[in-house]
Symmetry: C2
Subunit: 161 residues, 2 copies
Amino acid sequence: MQVYLIRHGLAGESGSYANDDERPLTKEGRKKARTCAQRLNALGIAFELILTSPLVRARQTAEILKEEGLSPALEVFAPLAPGGSLASWLEWLSNWSQQPLALVGHNPDLSDWAETLVWGEARGVIVLKKTGLICLELPEAEPPVGRSLLTVLLPPKLLAS
Amino acid sequence: MQVYLIRHGLAGESGSYANDDERPLTKEGRKKARTCAQRLNALGIAFELILTSPLVRARQTAEILKEEGLSPALEVFAPLAPGGSLASWLEWLSNWSQQPLALVGHNPDLSDWAETLVWGEARGVIVLKKTGLICLELPEAEPPVGRSLLTVLLPPKLLAS
């Protein structure tokens, strides 16, 4: 099971919005997300479904990925909000079989989830930049925590240049 | 200290050569290594020095990287041969301060070295394909084993497409 973890793009500064959930991507953030999405598309990457955090900056990033043809489907998934639950997503995943799947969310959650899936615990050793991407290969026949493989870690500078 | 670990390209089949050390890259392997090198160059990646395993398939890969302008210097480094010694390289590194540095070698050694530097031990969880690339950020003020960061894991299909 191939799963891509994608961090949202550059968003407005925290202080400028009363509700952090509503912070949108900046103009530069939208542009970079679109350039990255176009490059991923050119590289032949595509998803069956994108699950996104409900926060505006993540939803906007996910919508750009969908607009650029990377996925036919996009759903908001509450456990992808900051501080969300890997266990909730793994429960959801136990009823899902299509791949590749993409998750759009926040850090440190996404890199923590990746490290937990690969090594069994999170230590903050995977550097995932905004608009960056991780790809994992999850085993299908056994629980994925501590049994998954890391196949891609792609900072946006290697996509958007 | 930024260090790139690059696996050699596709080489001839093991059975065809009396001495495994002499197996050269195939025509396809040379072509793919050159395409990857050109793309890395276009992305602005460059090294101060390439250290390569003495085996032909690694040396040829390293020479292609140098020919494509990725590094002004290339040296053969015996501990990068298969089954080589991370400790020997770390000892060499303690007298080296220029970055980025690139190592061209073999698997599972390179992904084992990366995992040891990042996680403290190798568990076979980082998938490094032929002509693929890992980038690590090593701390400068303390021993790097178990204290390094993983910043890039790039399979060739995301470079050579």
